[in-house]
Amino acid sequence: MVSLESCFETKAGDFTERGCSLLGCRVVVCGQVKNVVHLVHSPIGCAYYSWDYRMDTKGYCFTTDMNEIDIVFGGENKLLKAVLLAIEEFSPDAVFIYETCSTSIIGDDIQAVAKKASDLTGIPVIAFNCAGFRGKSQNFGHRIANLGLFNIILDGERKEMVNTVNLIGDFNKKDSEILERLFGEIGIKVICTFTANATIDKIRDMKNAELNIVMCSKSSIFLAELMEEKYGIPYVELNFFGLDNCCKSLYKISEYFNNLNVEEVIHENMSWIKMKIDKYKNILEDKRVFICHGAQRAIYWIKPFEELGMKVVGIATHFGGEIPNFDGLVVDNLSSDELEKILEKVRPDIVVSDDKIRHLVHKMSIPFFNGRGQNRGYSGFEGFLNFAKDVGETLNAKLWYLARDFGGFNV
């Protein structure tokens, strides 16, 4: 086991893949909550860049567009007017206000503005103090987002509903669709997938669940802890990537509930999936994988690759953390030039990462696979089949062979 310090600071002069707290808060966690005005209290930059940062989201960009004069005289008035205007024009379920470096440094009290606007309109207005310089990476932004959104959960009384769970820390719509279907099969209702399919009402109802399932502990375990403390709702960290993980997780859930037909569902799914997966095995057998993800997915991906007969030869994380049960190469917070050198040396058969380093890997003509699953989910049984299929097709694409033969015309 290779252990890392929980999270190194980024070195000055790095080409880092890490983002800031605003990214963690506005884009990763809060950004997908629907019918909410996401108002970034900032000069144009922060608002523009965080607008549709994820390729699979489509939303509007709301900003106070602070100019020099606003920075000198303070932007609280402007912010309040903006919030009221947004509520009038778009009648949202809530308004989220995000602070940024400049508006934080000049001391705008966004919490006070939020309270005032909320009192005036009766609509929840939540302010997030997620200025970019806070914390070592976007991870700090996740924490701020969790804390802010917990305020919505606190609204109203708890009415416990039987056989219900929340999925916390799943930010992929396609994954959440698969999992909600799978849970339906075993007889469990998902109240809210936080935040892939979250709305303000769903988040408010989260307190009614019997169990919280934490998918990405790095970003969201804090919320589960808060809910356990306040309402006594237990939480369990699970993941549904790969057949083994999926089965184990389902058994684990059945410990918390009575009369779930877990056995049946597992048996049914396993009977068809094994056969279909075997089709891809001869393509994938013994292929070498390099994983580059924020810590959580890096850990979760090891097992599914092994199930496909592949070998993980290296892992690069963005935010540190421990990778248990793994004795290969582990590196944290690489500069892109360092990553390039490592990839040149390791020369894996395929790299799994998200879009940030896609083009670097493409340029090197190494097959690349987006582990976030933007087109289809990779969770659960059917997700694993998607996964095997996508990895196999990526690896097998003729283009890689053409590209590597470059310059020679050696047909």
Binding site: A12, G45, Y49, W51, Y60, K78, C101, S335, S365
Partner: protein
Amino acid sequence: MIDVFCNNLPLKVNPPKMCQLTGVVLATLGINGAIPLIHGSQGCSNFVKHLMSKHFKEPMDIATTALNEKVIAAGGEKRLLNAIKNLRDRLDPELIVVMTTCLTETIGDNLGVVKDCVVVRTPSYSGTHVEGYDSAIKEIIKFLADDCIERKNSINVISGFVNPADVRELKKILTLMGVEHTILTDLTSLDMPILKKRRSDTTVEKIRESVNAIATFSFGKEGKSGGEYLEKFGVNNLNLRFPIGIINTDRFLLKVSEITGAEISDKVVEERNYALDGMVDVSHVLRGKKVAIFGDVDKVIALSEFAFEVGMKVKAVLIPVKCERFVNEMEYIAVKNNSKIAVFENSDLYTLHKFLRDNPVDVLIGDYRGRYIAEKEKIPLLRVGFPVCDRFGYHRKPIFCYAGALRMAEEMANLIVGKYYG
């Protein structure tokens, strides 16, 4: 005959402008072996990098000083010097361009300590990507330029905040005319073949020699200050319209020919005739069609002229900033073409959306942020400029020169035919 709408609301919804950093980073990446270094929190570099790599589909190296709370209290100068040292030790770049951010401008970091790098002051709360690009070009030239030694019959061209395809068109046509040229800065480095690292024809040495040229061509606001700075060294400063559309390209090439004495070669005329052949073929589709255009000031002006050139009617134009010159230019264009144009300044795409709901048009021209209007109002969107993240290859599609005019006319015609005739 224009109606001017200025949006002074405290809330902007979908404003089509970026902060200065993007402009500086773009200008920097066009120089061989240059590295942009953003002095601020690490989010700034990550955001810019992500946006640019989504558009150019290329790996981007943007360094950051990664400031956090602890560092801020003590001021960021030490960390900046540290970052520069680290970069030099690790990569030995030919040039480092340091940018400030809102954070470091607000806490008042003293950048006088940086001696051996270009420093561009780029707080997000003033200016946009256009100003960032403009001042980057100027600061880079200022940092590198020495006195003129020997005047050469060559020209500098400041391409503006455009795509690799546009720079490629400029280079192609100037080469066809046999004009020696330096592109400041050569953005074709943002479109490299597979297995090749970023490389640019514009080296630090070439920029140093730019003072020896006979003239600098720049387009609109983008590159104006660079041209003005070089004027001090006796380099003619020619600030023209963007070479978008046939007439504007003609004007540009005639000026180049006049200054350098190079003839407009048969090859260039052939290129022009190819374009006109294609444009004539689609003219019956485009004629009389209504169009709305949004984007950067000078590109919108040139695109409006292009639209009238192919027989379309410009109904609305929108820029994200306040600009008196723009309003005057649009007034002139409207009168000249005997039309009525709604001019939105300091505005956002949501305002345009509301206007277009009541005043529908046949085509919308702008970057991909126009997709919300396009989808809801079912108006085809001609994607031009930066950024276009939701489609592939748009950094390889020019808007400049004859090839750009042809491409835009044909693509617009296809959009219209696709919509009305299936």
